[in-house]
Structure formats: C-alpha cells, structure tokens
Symmetry: C4
Subunit: 229 residues, 4 copies
C-alpha cells in the first residue's frame, strides 16, 4: 500500500546523508496521504545504506502501525501532532544537522539577517520553549509536537516552514517530503550564516523589513516572479 508515497519518503530520507545533514541514523522524514489519513515514516535506527523503500512504515494518525515489519521512528508521535494541526503540510523532517542544532542547543531562534533566510522563512525561525520535566516524563514525543504547535499559535506554518526544539534540534516541513528536506537544507545553511554574521557584528539587528517582505513575496507571494512560474 501507498507504494508511491513510500518511494517519495524513501528518496527524501536518502537525501539527508547526501546533503550532509545526517550522522549515522540521526534523522527521519515522513510523508502523509491526506485522503487516507495515513503517514509513511522511516523505521527507527536503521542505517541509511541498508534502507529500502519497502522498509518504510505506514502509521495512522492515532499512532498505530498499519503496515511494516519495523518499528517506526521514535519521533513518530511528534510528526503526528504536526500533521493533525498543520493541514497544509504533506511532509516533515527531523535532523540533528549541526548548525541548526547548535542554535537549538543555545535555546535561541534564528534572526532573519538576510535574503537567503527571507527567501524561505518569513521572519525569525523560532525556538520552542523547553518541555517541563512532567511533559518529558508523561509523553515526550507527543509533547514535543504540542510545544511546537504552541510556538506556532501566532505563526503560519506555510510562512515559517521549520522550528528549533530547545536543547534538541530542528523540525522542518513542506507540501511534501521532498520540500520538507529542501527546507531542512535551507535551514542548515541559514543557521550557519546567521552564526557567522553575529560573530562579525555582535548586537546586529535583523534585515530591514522591506527587504524581508520583498524577497519572501518575490518567491512565495501572489505575484511571485522567481523561477519559471
């Protein structure tokens, strides 16, 4: 079942090591079939060079395994919370990519210092608050999802397709698994450049709002003119 989605999710997972976002098995990608209400996700802890499309695990939105011989990624319940709340999202990625994770470990959102950031993320890429000890003990992965949703109470997931989890790492998303990986690559590059920018000029302000608006609009607005659209 869901063979095409499994292939998409498999390909998106395999893109993580190719793009240098992954050490060992430290990441996972999922994709959802909205019409069936089922998601496909990488199995937990399987090496990338042993992974095959048919190893992808099919889950429902209650967290039950519907198909697959492996256990799903240990972060599956986080993915599910995001899919339930973010209706436009078709794919989700979690990694420990080093630059984004460094910001997450510093418990800081990434300010928008330039057009590379503004081309994809509108405004700061936020860092979700730390979970309480109770939240961690009672349902760590589900609560990780809920604290992300709390962070997006006043944000549009389509305008800011990613988040940092305090002392943990990034999640990104997109209309499908491939776009979610694309946004993970962008986040890592943006995180690196924001770090370097701050070292060059401590106390710097974010990029002018008009510039942020222009770049986001030129790529994502109603009158977008970047690319061949």
């Amino acid at each position: 079942m869901l063979e095409e989605l499994k292939m998409q999710v498999y390909e998106a997972n395999m893109e993580l090591p190719r793009r240098g976002l992954i050490t060992y098995t430290w990441g996972n990608v999922s994709g959802i079939d909205r019409s069936k209400g089922l998601l496909v996700i990488k199995p937990s802890g399987i090496e990338y060079d042993e992974l095959r499309p048919e190893d992808m695990v099919v889950m429902d939105l209650e967290g039950n395994r519907v198909e697959g011989r492996y256990k799903p990624s240990s972060d599956t319940l986080t993915h599910i919370e995001l899919y339930k709340a973010f209706e436009s999202v078709g794919g989700i990625v979690h990694t420990h990519s080093p630059w984004a994770t460094s910001w997450a470990q510093a418990c800081r959102g990434i300010p928008c210092y330039g057009t590379t950031h503004a081309d994809y993320y509108y405004g700061e890429i936020p860092c979700a608050r730390s979970l309480t000890a109770e939240e961690i003990q009672e349902g760590y992965e589900k609560n990780t999802g809920l604290v992300i949703l709390e962070t997006f109470a006043n944000r549009l997931p389509g305008h800011v397709p990613g988040v940092l989890c305090s002392n943990h790492g990034p999640f990104t998303w997109g209309k499908d698994a491939g776009e979610a990986v694309h946004n993970a690559v962008v986040l890592e590059e943006v995180a690196k450049m924001a770090y370097q920018t701050e070292q060059l000029k401590p106390g710097l302000q974010q990029a002018p709002q008009a510039l942020q608006d222009k770049h986001f609009e030129r790529k994502h607005g109603a009158n977008a003119y970047y690319g061949q659209k």
Copy 2:
C-alpha cells in the same frame, strides 16, 4: 545565436556548484557580447544538474528577452546596470556563498588583511548601503545595481572586482564569465580568512599599504611578473 558565449556562460554557471559556492539554484552568471549589446544569463530557478547550454537566455540592455524559452534570472536587471556602467566588464556573478554572504549580512566591507586579498582586490571589498524601502518597492533589482554603482563612485571596478550587498550577498565581475567566477571563488576564500583573522586578533589593522601595493602590482601592474606573462 551567441552560441559560443552561451557555452562560456553555461560553463561558468556550472563551475559554481563545483566550487561549493552554491546551494540549490542560489546564484547566476552572465556574460556580454559588447559588439552586439546583448547579454547571456542563466534562467531563473533551474536546477544546475538539469541546465544545458541552450537554456541560457539572451537579453538586451533594456531588459527585453531576445531569445530563450525560459525566464531569465530574477537578478537580471542588476546585471544590466553593472554592464551599462562598467564598460570593461564582460562577465558578472551573483551567489549566496556563505562566507561572503555572512559579511554582507553583517553589513560590513571586508578589510584587506593579507596578500591573498591584495593579489586580486585592491583595498577593502566594500559593502553597498542598504536600499530604502522605496528603492526596494519601486525597482528592487535595478536599484540594487544602482546602489552598487554609487559604491563605486570613487573605485575602479577593475581594481576591486566585487562588492557585497547589505543583508543579501556578493556580486563579482571580470573580463569574462570565467574570470568573474574566479573572482567569486577568491572572494569566498578571502571572506573566510578575514573572519578567522578577526577572531584571532580583534581590532586588527589592515595589511601594510606597501605590501598591498606590491602584491596587486606584481599580479596586475604594468610590470606584473606573476604567472607566465
């Protein structure tokens, strides 16, 4: 038409990912045929591994597409302003290469800290001022070109073959597309080393003027003796 120039511009574009200056489609190279008053530029948003020489777009200096099935790079109007003002320039590059972009995001020019810099760029590599909100809204790409020209009011584009745009990234140029890419590679390397130099010695002065003069002259002066010239 302009088949040879298209091939040159294509090859120069393909050098960007090989040299690590590019993530996804974040860059563009153009070249100009001065006798015909036409420039050739990369199409907007096409993946590098799908790009072919015949995909290059031919434009006139008024910004009209003369040939090509694709839309040109969204930065084409910036390139045009530079070609109109910098008569010795035959090729232009724009990237978001991470070290140069970090300086641009910090809104800082790159001081000349050593001979690697002085071999190619005479004095500081300047950072153009921020555009005003009006300049951004009324003609972002054209005004990006004009603010670069403003920055070069007292500089020779042949002595300083590149510039940073505030909160954006670098443009470099040269006698042809290949040399413009060469200067983009040099800029990235120089930007990296200047960053590291400042971390090692905050408050450092630029390299002695006599040393800057010597290295620039030995490579580019009337009595240059570097290489096989």
Copy 3:
C-alpha cells in the same frame, strides 16, 4: 591467531579516515579477546592505505608482544590500563580528531548541551587532569591510562564512553572496536556543536536534567525503545 578480532580491529581502524577523524597516522583502535586475555592493536606509524588485517599486533595485558612483525601503537600501554580496569569494554579508540582535541587542548570537559550528546554520553564528557612532569617522564603512556581511571573514579565507563586527555586528545571505548569508533564519531560531532553553542550563547547552562535522562534512557535504559530492539 585471533583472525576474526584482527579483521574487526582492522576494519575499525580503516573507518577512522573514512569518517574524517584522522590526519596521517594520528590514531589507533584496539580490541580485546577477554577469554584469552589478549588484545589486538594497530601497528605504530603505518599509513592507513598500506595497512592490512594481518599487520595488526597481538599483545598481552602485561604489554608483551605475542604476535606481529610490527611494533604496536605507541599508545598501547594506555589501552592496556583501560582494559584492565573497565571490564565491560571490548574496544578502544584514540584519535586527534580536531573538535574533540580542541576541547582537550583547552583542558575543558564538554558540557551536555543537548539530546545528541545525551543519546550517547550521560552528563559531561570529562577532561582528565594534566599529568605531572614526573608522571610524564616515568611512564607517560601508562600514566595517561591511570589518570583516565582517576577521572572515572565516580563515573561508569558504560555511561560515559569517552574522555579527553588535557592538551592531547580523546579516547573512546565500547563493547567492541566498532562501537568504540562509533562513539569517537559521536564525540567529534558533539564537540563541534558544543563549541558552536557556546559561541551563540556564552554562559549557557547544560540541558535540563529530565531531558538528558529521557534521551539516555530511551536509547540505553531497561525500557529502551530507540531502534529495533
């Protein structure tokens, strides 16, 4: 003798350059056969691309060479002290991997800033105290081992599978040579991210204890649910 262990130790050594942990011959991996009381270790100063499984040297725990035409790694006596004291350890790695070595050169342990660290190392990765001049002169390699053991007087080697030696570099270990290399790769990645984290937020505290507990337990505890166990 010990052909299977030699092959394991050889493969683990060859993983060091593949993972970017090694320049030239700056590292060594060993493995132990507990039933025979013999360990197998890389010969000293042999280039990785000339190394063969049969070049591995067999040593006893008194430091005598039992088999092999080459001299063993100059750090063999350090490995031996660790094997004698850490009974659950089956493999040991020493490298000069640049990020971990930078922390060692700063004579600082690596604080636990996030889940990547907590997934493998429970709490700070300690830095052993400097050897005295007498300790260096009287038995440098053996005393390097002893000062590591001193550092682990109140730590479990299974919970913290690595250490930094002041002004020197890291040692890591595991149930076999392969796992010891795995932990060396993790240490290097964790060391890099901790460095970057501190630059982003000087004076930062370690990750919340509940989060550290959760991640270590989810991977290594009695009810571990990461992977396919």
Copy 4:
C-alpha cells in the same frame, strides 16, 4: 636533468590540492639537489591539473634558470634564501592554506596547545615580523627569506619546520619535498585546532613543557619510539 627530483617535486606539488591546502595556483613546492647546488620548483601560475613533471623549473642558488620553458614560481628567491641558510633542508613549501594564513594575517605565532603540535613543531610556530616598505620595494621575495632567517636566529629549522609571514601565509620545510608538504598539512591542522582552542578558553597558556618535550622526543629524539624505527 634531475629527472628524479623533478618527479618528487611534481608529486609534492600535486599533493597540495589533494590535501585541500590550495585554491587555484596559490602555492609552490621546491626540492634541492645539494650535490649539484640546483633546485627544482613549480612554474608560476600554471594550473595544477595541467602541470606535468617536465614543467618543473631548474634553478641555481643565484636565481638563474638552468632549465625549463616556464618562469619559476614568483616566490623562488624566498626559497633560495632558505636553502642557503638551512643546510639540512631538502624541500620547501609555500601555501595560502586558510587556517595558517589566518594566523599569519593576524600577525601571530601559533602557541603550542597540545601534543599534535608538539609531535612536529617544538614550541611556538613563529610569525616573522612585517617587512618595511623599503624591504618590500627593494627586493620583496629575497627579503621575505631574510626576515624568516632573522626569525630563526635563535631557533633550529629542524625543530620548528615552518614559519608564518605577517599578512601573507606559511612556509614549511623538511628533509625533502614530501616531508615539507607533510609539515604543511600538519601546520594547517594545528592552526585550526589552536584557533578553536582559544575560542573555547581565552587567555589559555601553552601546553606544559614536560608534555611538549615528551612528545617531541618520542617522535624525533635520540630514543624515539614512535613508528617502526
């Protein structure tokens, strides 16, 4: 003539891009035949992928070209001064490798922070003083050599096989061209780690003298026991 030495010097030059020490043509390696009083050096400004063994240039110690269709490296006169003064040296390398060059641009010697450094360089890797304007104008390359010799008035070139030139970059040497390249690779790695070490602990002291002595002696002393010697 000197076919074997040409091949050695060619191979040593080709190792520079393989080891990541070189962008474009920013480096050169030479080797000397002491019995003939002739040195072999890379031609100036030739791309590495076009270089052939027979392109190497033969020079005498007065700076005359003895054989070769190309002009020698523009830094040849610096090499010559070093060969004349450092009698045990058989090969010399100059690069603009980014970490070592960053220290050179900061006009700082590299303190010995650990055993990786001490294994090859005994004590600080010094930075030569800046040339005066007169020295630059009257004989830049020769005076670059002389100021290095001035720096080594109280140092042994065999104990410290490299130097940084202020606002310029490193020179390293060894018993032959291959060892000189080896020392250039080590210098770059040591420069990187020393930078990172200082960021982790500002105001740090050098490694204990007894540790420096031990590591240098264990590899280079009369009773050296590293490797298969």
